[in-house]
């Protein structure tokens, strides 16, 4: 730290304290936090059409 030889000034400056980053910043930077099981309710998967046809054919035959 750069030395401040005036302890009175240093002490006075420290009276101005501000809060840390709010949780809303986490969401803005990292995206909304999702619970692992939310995929079961809202998730989706992509399946290639040939795979769907093959599976359907096996299922119905």
């Amino acid at each position: 730290m750069a030395p401040n030889n005036d302890p009175k000034l240093r002490e006075l400056l420290k009276e101005w304290q501000i809060s840390n980053a709010p949780p809303s910043l986490d969401e803005r930077v990292l995206g909304p936090h999702k619970r692992w099981w939310s995929f079961l309710l809202t998730g989706s998967i992509r399946i290639p059409v040939p795979a769907v046809i093959a599976i359907s054919w096996r299922f119905w035959s």
Partner: protein, 175 residues
């Protein structure tokens, strides 16, 4: 930079960047925007960081500082001149809210002095780290910091000679 590395960097440095941006701009909303933009830049261009040239913290402070300058220039609140003859009158401290007085005094400083004062006094960075963050020679940083402290003493002179509320001595607000 992998996703876990990015998250680790974010959680480690978000608070120092946020406090720095808030104290530079005087606005928590602007601080939030600036820190978000800083990490978006890191995400898009991680090779921009070279560990051989300093810590990730000073690199990120440097990005935030440049973003803040850009924003303040847009609002005509940033003047690159680091005037020696910058004359700041004493601030009227006839108020019980000393934190607000100090915030006002910091905001009155020329930006180049303000940024080194914030990094030295509030974030406790070394002179070398400040020099990397603000992209200035060590001698220039020392000089700006000296002038910033002198200006703060001048502005806060009345408050310096008042006792902190709740302590023994002359009550706050008494002249």
């Amino acid at each position: 930079m992998t996703d876990p590395e990015f998250r680790e960097a974010y959680h480690r440095h978000k608070d120092v960047l946020y406090r720095f941006a808030w104290r530079m701009t005087g606005s928590p909303d602007s601080a939030e925007d600036l820190v978000q933009d800083c990490f978006l830049l890191l995400l898009r261009n991680p090779p921009g960081y070279d560990a051989a040239r300093g810590t990730l913290r000073s690199f990120l402070i440097g990005i935030t500082r440049n973003l803040a300058r850009k924003r303040m220039r847009g609002e005509s609140r940033f003047d690159d001149l680091d005037e020696d003859s910058f004359a700041i009158p004493a601030i009227d401290t006839d108020s019980h809210d000393r934190a607000r007085i100090i915030a006002r005094a910091v905001a009155e400083l020329p930006p180049l002095q303000r940024e080194v004062l914030i990094l030295a006094e509030y974030e406790e960075l070394s002179l070398e780290e400040i020099s990397r963050a603000v992209d200035a020679e060590l001698a220039a940083v020392k000089s700006r910091l000296h002038r910033a402290r002198e200006n703060m003493r001048r502005m806060l002179m009345p408050a310096l000679f008042q006792e902190k509320p709740g302590t023994k001595g002359i009550p706050s607000g008494t002249k």
